[in-house]
């Protein structure tokens, strides 16, 4: 049985207007209600890194928010580990696109957010320290988020998420807004982290190369109302290289085409 099961998931956002905006296409906007996700059925295995691609505004973030339990689906169900998701839980930690750290807490306090239940101070300290070191931020424990660079802030968020040892890690565009080198390093770190911990991880990204390099599985959504256009397991050896791997290269061109760019740039 797969770790995450999404069955016939549909999401409609209610608008304020009740008449259709586009008479010729009442399906898309019935009233001003926006059909975002249309009958999505997916299944992911335990420990997989799943990369989700799709055009902007197609509902990728919405899908992740529903899986995390922040929003109820309009129809259908999401199961994580057999349990139907109905509310947020510390077993599925969401890593926000940006600005998810509490600015009034230091790096140390932020990483310790999910460890509040640990009574023993020494164990707790050790645990926090372990994850701060994992993202190489020792010596920055007492810094406030605004004193860190964008990349460092992302690493703190990653550490905070991993520290609670969740079953599922959900990342919404974890590399957006980072410069090229930081992006590459972060990507490598996330891949290494995943190799090491083998935690089920969902990553939404705009970057096709990110998805192909990182993912054990790739999902491409169509434009709104979005449906699954492609779901493909990536059984390519790591580290991956487009030049040495014609199969990967071919898939890349296919996906570019699928997303509306007729040639791989």
């Amino acid at each position: 049985m797969s770790h995450i099961r999404i069955d016939n998931l549909t999401k409609v956002y209610m608008g304020r207007r009740s008449r259709p905006r586009n008479i010729h296409d009442p399906e898309e906007h019935f009233g001003d209600n926006i059909l975002v996700l249309n009958d999505i059925t997916l299944g992911f295995e335990e420990g997989e890194m799943v990369c989700i691609l799709g055009p902007s505004g197609c509902g990728k973030s919405t899908l992740l928010r529903i899986i995390a339990g922040f929003e109820p689906p309009t129809n259908g169900t999401v199961r994580v580990g057999g349990q139907v998701v109905s509310a947020p839980s510390d077993q599925s930690i969401f890593v926000f696109q940006q600005g998810g750290l509490f600015p009034w807490m230091t790096v140390y306090e932020n990483v310790g957010l999910g460890l509040r239940h640990i009574r023993d101070a020494a164990t707790k300290h050790e645990r926090i320290q372990e994850y701060v070191e994992m993202v190489e931020l020792e010596a920055f424990e007492d810094y406030y988020p605004h004193q860190l660079s964008g990349g460092m802030q992302r690493r703190v968020e990653l550490a905070r998420a991993l520290a609670v040892n969740p079953d599922l890690l959900i990342m919404d565009e974890p590399f957006s807004g980072l410069d090229f080198l930081t992006h590459m390093k972060m990507r490598e770190e996330v891949v290494n982290m995943h190799e090491f911990l083998r935690k089920t991880t969902l990553v939404v990204t705009h970057d096709i190369d990110d998805a192909l390099i990182m993912g054990d599985r790739i999902v491409v959504l169509s434009g709104r109302p979005s449906a699954v256009k492609l779901m493909h397991a990536l059984n390519f050896p790591r580290p991956r290289d487009f030049e040495k791997n014609p199969g990967l290269s071919r898939l890349r061109s296919e996906i570019f085409l699928m997303l509306g760019v007729p040639y791989a740039v």
Partner: protein, 273 residues
């Protein structure tokens, strides 16, 4: 070296330097004060008005010392400060929690916002007749008026501060399974502190404005009463003394609140948002 056109500025032409600017603005401030006192002296002499109508600086200084010696000034200042503190404290203790509830609950907002928005623009001074009828003479009506003057600004600023909290933080809180109490102490309170400190600073000024007015009607002590009493005795020098003390204390109150703001903003800077 290449010759530049005449009049083209070079890099090192930068005469204004910063290091001494704090000292300098203080010196300029003192200078302007001196000029005003001089002008006052000139006016007092030039107009030829009697000292009972327009006292000169020296007369005011002498009567100031006199009022300071016999303890009148201290007594009235303490009375005013007590009222402001009591009214302001009550307003903050009630206003901030109510603001938090209004900021968090749409229902509470729909229920109470109309009343608050209706009462808010009514000057606290318009409440004077009712305050005197309900609370009689003495401290209570004055404290009530100061409370009214500070309560609405505190509620409104706190409500806005809570509504402005980044919604992502509440999702993080839900994700890490915060209890209601933790959401309050670890999220809402720290998030609104900078805004609330700013509101405190604005509001204490309003409270200080109102105390003087309140003391002119309902009580027999305080700086407002001192001014009223001095006017009845035609002692304009005492009136001026009252005004000077009010000004100085207003300045001090503002300064204390500003310090408070500096402490907090240095903790999790404004630049963080």
């Amino acid at each position: 070296m290449k010759q530049h056109n005449d009049g083209e500025p070079t890099m090192k032409d930068n005469p204004e330097q910063a290091p001494d600017s704090g000292n300098r603005s203080l010196r300029l401030g003192l200078l302007s004060l001196l000029v005003i006192i001089l002008l006052w002296e000139v006016l007092a002499r030039g107009t030829g008005w009697s000292v009972h109508i327009f006292p000169d600086p020296l007369t005011v200084v002498f009567s100031f010392v006199e009022l300071l010696r016999d303890g009148t000034l201290l007594r009235h200042t303490v009375a005013s400060l007590f009222r402001v503190t009591a009214g302001f404290y009550l307003a903050v203790c009630l206003g901030v929690p109510i603001g938090i509830v209004l900021g968090r609950s749409v229902n509470a907002r729909s229920l109470f916002n109309p009343i608050i928005q209706f009462l808010r623009p009514i000057s606290p001074l318009a409440w004077i007749p009712l305050a005197m009828l309900w609370f009689g003479i003495g401290d209570p009506p004055a404290i009530f008026l100061i409370f009214l003057a500070s309560f609405f600004p505190m509620v409104v600023s706190t409500t806005i501060a809570v509504q402005n909290i980044n919604p992502t933080y509440f999702q993080v809180a839900a994700n890490f399974r915060f209890s209601y109490q933790e959401t309050l102490t670890r999220l809402i309170l720290p998030a609104i502190i900078p805004d609330v400190v700013t509101a405190l600073r604005m509001t204490v000024t309003i409270a200080w404005l109102v105390v003087v007015a309140a003391e002119m009607i309902a009580v027999q002590s305080g700086l407002g009463y001192l001014i009223l009493d001095a006017r009845n005795a035609l002692r304009m020098d005492y009136v001026m003394n009252g005004m000077i003390v009010i000004g100085v204390i207003g300045l001090l109150l503002d300064n204390i609140m500003k310090r408070l703001g500096d402490v907090e903003s240095s903790k999790w800077g404004i630049q963080a948002r």
